[in-house]
């Protein structure tokens, strides 16, 4: 179990891995995530989203960016290596519009950076439930897009690419086409996954139009089962746990500024740990 079956480097610091995790592959639903550990003894537990799963093969796919010590260590593992722990699937599955007797509609999925990875199973499920799915993908430049082909298969012509430098698709932020779509008036729901700052601005963009907007939060966690409360956020003035109450919340109700601050709680330690690992790896 937890053996790495496939590994691909997607860009400078973005990696794809397929991991043997048959129990998670069997149970996972769109919107859920995992917690993994690279080292057993002194390791850290980090939450990561599930990009895809194959129940028959018993594998799940993850896409991650090397941002801290654990993702750095993870990126150094290879096919055949095993992870110390993989726990999941965690969190409540996405409430798929149209799946519960509700009328399908037009859903706009906004994925920023590697936020496109967890969006993939959600967009798939939305499409399968009969929705029109428009996908907006944003990245700093062309080389940082992940799962573009998979997303095109779902959205077809309704795939909108946005880059900061114009190297692919339109030049600009994901909020621009999002506003245009809302302006046109044919959007029933928006789902945003990506860096918190992007999700915050997506929420601000849709708010004037009163379009239901859901964001999937990626806060700090330890156990992922409600025990520690480290992942808590303020939603509509109430304290919620991302791991058991989320990860998806009404983006218009989330206190984004507080969440951004909480996510930076351990920044100095994280930076020091990453630099330490970087130096170790340079020495090899």
């Amino acid at each position: 179990m937890n053996c790495i079956k496939e590994k691909r480097q997607l860009s400078d610091n973005v990696f794809f891995m397929k991991i043997d995790a048959p129990l998670i592959a069997r149970e996972r639903k769109a919107g859920q995530f995992i917690i993994l550990m690279v080292d057993e003894e002194a390791g850290e537990r980090i939450p990561l989203t599930i990009a895809d799963a194959d129940e028959t093969a018993g594998t799940i796919s993850i896409i991650f960016q090397t941002v801290g010590a654990t993702t750095m260590k993870l990126s150094r593992l290879n096919v055949g290596d095993s992870l110390a722990a993989v726990l999941g699937p965690l969190g409540r599955p996405t409430d798929i519009r149209g799946a519960n007797g509700e009328k399908p509609g037009h859903v706009v999925c906004v994925g920023g950076g590697i936020g496109v990875a967890p969006m993939h199973p959600i967009a798939q499920a939305l499409k399968a439930a009969g929705n029109r799915v428009t996908i907006i993908m944003g990245a700093r430049n062309k080389s940082l897009f992940v799962m573009e082909d998979e997303m095109r298969r779902i959205a077809g012509d309704d795939l909108i690419l946005m880059t900061d430098d114009g190297s692919s698709g339109r030049k600009g932020l994901v909020t621009e086409p999002l506003k245009e779509l809302c302006e046109a008036g044919a959007v029933d729901e928006v789902i945003a996954i990506g860096p918190p700052i992007m999700m915050k601005f997506c929420a601000l963009a849709t708010k004037p139009y009163g379009v239901k907007t859901v964001a999937s939060l990626n806060t700090i966690m330890i156990d992922g089962t409600g025990m520690c409360g480290g992942c808590r956020v303020s939603v509509g003035g109430k304290t919620k746990f991302v791991c058991v109450d989320g990860p998806e919340f009404d983006a218009h109700q989330v206190d984004w500024d507080l969440m951004l601050k909480r996510m930076g709680a351990f920044k100095p330690q994280e930076t020091a740990a990453r630099d330490h690992i970087c130096n170790l790896f340079k020495g090899i």
């Binding site: 080292d39 537990r45 726990l87 156990d223 089962t225 058991v244 994280e270």
Partner: protein, 486 residues
């Protein structure tokens, strides 16, 4: 020995690390009795006919019986008597609130008009359990199984039992079911088994090697331990029975959902639940100087809110991880504190400053959202409330600010919603605790049993253990009624 002679024996003090030294290290505070001390302390037991101590013990250990053996120096015999009713003496000897249980009723304490001079039952219990473990380790080399594994399992029944969680209730239930000959699998969400004994209670109060010894003992009994498996998510509880072939399930998932104060600023950076604070320190090894990847918040000035054992653990952990000043803020007076007396005493000795009859009103933050202070209110005691304790009443206009950069909230846990929310038909009460038959611990779903904090609300290790034991008896009876396996 006459009663007078017994009364003349000086109560044996527990050898301890010096307060100043231990406040900066993670080693166990109480060092344990020597054999001679254990024998002397056990000799203080009057062997009175009424045995009031047994009524104070949640699992009714034959206390005068084991003390008589210990007084003779027959420590193995003493342990055998404890083991008739208790599975985790090395743990309970350390963490039971004895002064509110067995020792509260001790005749010797009554005669000497001081509960602190009661026979130190817990310390003798700890000694005999530790001695047996050390002996077993010596004779078998490293990793010797716990003596709990000594009793050989009965003939295999072919029945399969799933135990969800790996804390004290689950450990006890798993051991008793395995001894009855069932095929037991324990499921734990974390990467290490032991539940609150490993993530919550710190090393300086309960060395992790003792917990590991108990888990090894379970394995020696044939219990399979599945880590990184969260029942309700990795597999629904009903699927364990309907699809995976388990004949019975025990739910011992504990009270793992930290309560917060519902005050302004409680989500600021630097405010932690005691669960998170202690988990980072204990399970994720922030204390380990050899290095650890999980970051820890090294507060300089820490306020811990609450008056239970967890609050004591968190405040003492803060000292050990470098805090210069630690306040313990509790809204009642010391007499109402639910913590073990010994922990309160240790915390004070180590330098934790107790602020009684005071309570947090709001947490103050800077523009980075980081804690810069805690505004508190002073309280006075009013009329007794539903719990029989005098309820604290805020004194208007008594606000003052504590200069702290860290706030740890240790005001208890609510019941974890994960299993009830994912298990159709599982009855819970309005607080979210699973409802069980008080005799068998069976839930509203036939074949599904529950015990420990998920049933009781936040309670103690020994109560959880008693629940696990009763549930195991319930499971064994239920499975016997189901006839032989097909």
């Amino acid at each position: 020995m006459t009663a007078k002679e017994r009364m003349a024996i000086e109560p044996q003090a527990m050898p301890e690390q010096d307060a100043k030294v231990r406040a900066r290290n993670m080693n166990e505070v109480a060092l344990g009795y020597t054999a001679e001390m254990a024998r002397r302390e056990a000799s203080r037991c009057m062997q009175c006919a009424a045995k009031p101590c047994m009524q104070g013990c949640p699992v009714a250990i034959n206390i005068p019986g084991f003390l008589a053996k210990a007084a003779e120096g027959d420590f193995e015999g003493a342990l055998a008597i404890i083991r008739e009713t208790s599975l985790l003496p090395a743990v309970c000897g350390r963490v039971c609130p004895q002064e509110k249980q067995c020792q509260k009723f001790c005749t010797m304490g009554k005669l000497l008009k001081d509960v602190d001079k009661a026979v130190a039952i817990g310390r003798v219990e700890r000694f005999v359990a530790d001695l047996a473990r050390e002996k077993a380790a010596q004779s078998a080399g490293k990793g010797a199984p716990a003596p709990s594994a000594a009793a050989a399992p009965a003939a295999r029944t072919g029945k399969r039992v799933a135990v969800v969680g790996s804390g004290p209730a689950s450990i006890t239930c798993a051991a008793d079911c395995a001894r009855a000959g069932h095929d037991v699998t324990m499921f734990e969400a974390f990467h290490k088994a032991g539940g609150v004994l490993v993530y919550g209670i710190p090393e300086f109060r309960l060395p992790k090697a003792i917990v590991q010894n108990e888990i090894d003992g379970l394995k020696a009994l044939g219990v399979k331990v599945e880590l990184n498996y969260v029942v309700g998510r990795t597999r629904k509880l009903r699927d364990l029975m309907d699809k995976d072939g388990f004949d019975a399930v025990f739910v011992g998932t504990g009270a793992g959902l930290p309560k917060f104060m519902d005050i302004e600023g409680e989500n600021l950076v630097g405010v932690f639940s005691a669960n998170e604070y202690l988990t980072r320190a204990n399970l994720m090894k922030a204390y380990d100087e050899k290095g650890h990847d999980t970051p820890f918040w090294h507060g300089r000035r820490v306020a811990v809110l609450g008056g239970g054992n967890v609050a004591m653990d968190a405040s003492r952990m803060a000292l050990r991880l470098g805090a210069e000043k630690v306040y313990l803020v509790y809204r009642r007076s010391e007499a109402e504190m639910p913590a073990r007396k010994e922990e309160v005493h240790h915390a004070k000795e180590e330098g934790v400053e107790f602020l009684m009859l005071q309570n947090a009103k709001r947490v103050l933050g800077d523009d980075q959202g980081r804690v810069v202070g805690l505004e508190c209110l002073k309280y006075e005691l009013g009329e007794p409330d539903a719990s029989g304790r005098r309820s604290p009443v805020a004194i208007p206009g008594s606000e003052f600010t504590l200069d702290v950069d860290t706030v740890v909230v240790a005001v208890g846990n609510a019941s974890n919603p994960l299993i009830p929310a994912t298990t159709e038909g599982l009855e819970v009460n309005k607080r979210g605790n699973i409802v069980v038959n008080p005799e068998t611990n069976m839930t509203s779903i036939p074949g599904v049993f529950a015990g420990g904090d998920i049933v009781l609300g936040a309670a103690t290790v020994i109560l959880a253990m008693g629940e696990g034991r009763r549930a195991a008896a319930g499971i064994n009876a239920y499975l016997a009624g189901k006839g032989s396996a097909s």
